[in-house]
Assembly symmetry: C2
Homo-oligomer: 393 residues x 2
């Protein structure tokens, strides 16, 4: 019910796995690019023209991609047809939050076709969430092709093996078999994973992490700090699927505990709420918060920003020393903090982290906007198809 770990010990490959791998390679490139010419596929994969032709034809037959007439390119030579995702290939992406549940239909290529936000009066329990999601999927069903599966970005710890939500403090969920229940309710294959981990995957494929092999994604939301790691070109999941919890790393000697029960966590110091309070705001969306931060001339606000940047600096320092990433991608209010005092975070890093590891590190902001988690959830739902295009239909 989830993407598979690479096998601990290597296994042999039969004849069929070759075709499967090449099929997957082509489909993945089409998915990541949103549309490529056959000749570029030939160049990128290193496979023969005739082989690419056969592979694309098979994907067309399976209804996964379509070929359209080449665009005028003003280049010498016979034009190469464009291979792009077949619009009939879609999945359902879901992101339950404290105040709302978002459901979207996402096509191959990472295109959000339609997005519905269902506000909630209070944090939904799992039964409510399942009901709302199921109903919304039914509504969407009329306007879209049949989805291949469903992916859920959960703000909490999700067991990779079966999509069990071990702990989602802000939703008040503990050991809820969310994926299994939704699978039963909708008849679809359902996979679930941590939201920030999926955000990292989304930025890896379509955003600020494109083409990188090693980066860290850190998101600051109303409910805390989430993180995801891409290492060696693949998401780092850890043994159970709980990796990336930077929000709970230790930064102070304070004894009180965060909502997940860890003492001295950075989540206790680095909070959106404190920032809003310093600004004298009741609430604000991401853009509003950032505008207020950048515009503020208050010494108190500056002090609070500085204090929070110092804590963020510690997290980044540890991440750089431990993971040696090429880039650090900031989302949510963490990006706003960095924007409020440009260069400060960089300076903090340069002061603290190992100089050698800093050589190529750049701190940047996330490129995908509010769709990031839905795109990540869709990526999870597409994982099986992308690994083995012949497995579906």
């Amino acid at each position: 019910m989830n993407a598979e770990h690479p096998p601990a010990l290597p296994v042999g490959r039969g004849r069929d796995s070759l075709r499967r791998h090449n099929l997957a390679t082509v489909l993945e490139r089409v998915h990541h690019s949103g549309g490529v010419s056959r000749s570029r596929l030939t160049g990128a994969t290193g496979l023969n023209r005739s082989t690419i032709a056969a592979l694309v034809t098979e994907l067309v037959v399976r209804g996964l991609v379509e070929e359209v007439d080449p665009v005028t390119t003003n280049q010498v030579g016979r034009p190469s047809p464009i291979v792009r995702p077949d619009p009939r290939t879609v999945v359902i992406a879901v992101n339950p939050e404290v105040d709302a549940i978002s459901v979207a239909v996402v096509g191959l290529g990472g295109v959000v076709r339609e997005r519905v936000r269902r506000p909630m009066d209070a944090a939904p329990d799992v039964a409510q969430a399942v009901a709302v999601i199921t109903q919304t999927v039914d509504e969407l069903a009329g306007r879209h092709p049949a989805p291949l599966g469903m992916g859920i970005a959960v703000p909490g710890l999700v067991r990779a093996a079966d999509g069990l939500v071990r702990l989602a403090p802000h939703l008040g969920w503990r050991d809820e078999p969310l994926a299994a229940r939704l699978s039963r309710a909708t008849g679809l294959p359902v996979a679930a994973a941590n939201d920030a981990g999926l955000g990292a995957a989304a930025e890896h494929v379509f955003g600020a992490g494109r083409g990188l092999t090693d980066f860290v994604y850190l998101n600051g939301g109303a409910s805390g700090i989430g993180g995801g790691i891409i290492a060696g070109g693949v998401p780092l999941r850890g043994a159970g699927g709980y990796a990336g919890e930077f929000g709970h790393t230790l930064v102070t000697a304070r004894g009180d505990r965060d909502r997940a029960g860890a003492p001295g966590s950075v989540e206790l110091e680095l909070t959106r709420a404190t920032l809003l309070r310093a600004l004298g705001l009741d609430d604000a969306d991401a853009d509003g918060l950032e505008r207020a931060l950048v515009a503020s001339e208050s010494a108190d606000v500056a002090a609070e920003v500085d204090r929070q940047l110092a804590f963020l600096g510690v997290v980044l320092r540890n991440a750089v020393d431990i993971l040696n990433p090429q880039r650090i991608v900031l989302g949510g209010f963490l990006a706003s903090l960095d924007a409020a005092v440009p260069g400060r975070l960089d300076a903090l890093l340069r002061e603290q982290a190992l100089a050698v590891s800093l050589d190529e590190v750049r701190v940047v902001r996330a490129e995908l906007g509010s769709d990031i988690l839905l795109i990540g959830a869709a990526e999870l739902a597409f994982a099986g198809l992308l690994a083995d295009p012949a497995s579906v239909r």
Copy 2:
């Protein structure tokens, strides 16, 4: 000059890559096990009997493995011959330290055939190290088959791309092209990497990390704290090859800096020297230190052990929250600290780290003894052969 990263973007596979992969799979299993029957190879790889026969035959022809008569097994059926590493396949493993340079001949299967330790009066500079290593290799050459290559475990930060030693504080090296110079001097292909990272790889293949996909190796030596990470079944190297520097993560607000220039590092608090001082010892080998620690009834010693365990607990907590490993493997005096107060480290972890991530974490001690770094260095030297057995000879 080093093991390759998995490609960021997928590449197609031609017909030949299938054979290469299967050949590599078989050789790797033989290497890791030190000797397996052909029938077990068949079972483990999922390949056909006849395919395994062909693959093994090719490896025999290439001089990489040999087949020997089956051992009596008291099982029904025709006995299956044992496939084991060909003793003619060896590499040179090197580990330069402050007070000595170790050089070894290591065979496929991780067997240290001969090990030479060259004591140094003072930390050697690179020219001295190259001279000593070259001379020692020449001496060893007479008693062993021609080595395929050389691997070096360096106590410092090594650029993965070319084996450039960016910084080895305890040796006083900075930006030294060690691998390139040794390659020129010996005519062998030479690869270099961080010692703790290679220790992790060695424990993964032959020690406490056998069969695991996610674990962290932490070593405490005279020169500080080193670390290595195995994630998703492969070593986590990071962008430049500098990942795993747990020794420099922040644990205190102290302003002074460690030898690599990082302030507040755990390396400043968690030191072998302080432990020896508390014990009133001038120097001791690993066993001696551990015996003294376990035997000590001094309150001062107990306090110092407790203090250091608390700092180690912070590092482990961060590692668990960020990486969600299945196991944490301790080496050097870190293993002795844990042995001095059994259960304390576990309790600290359980108190601080995310409960969910703790489910399956066990803290264990490294299994490989003093050969660990040489085995790791040999693993590095064998990497190219194991990835493509047809590439050699």
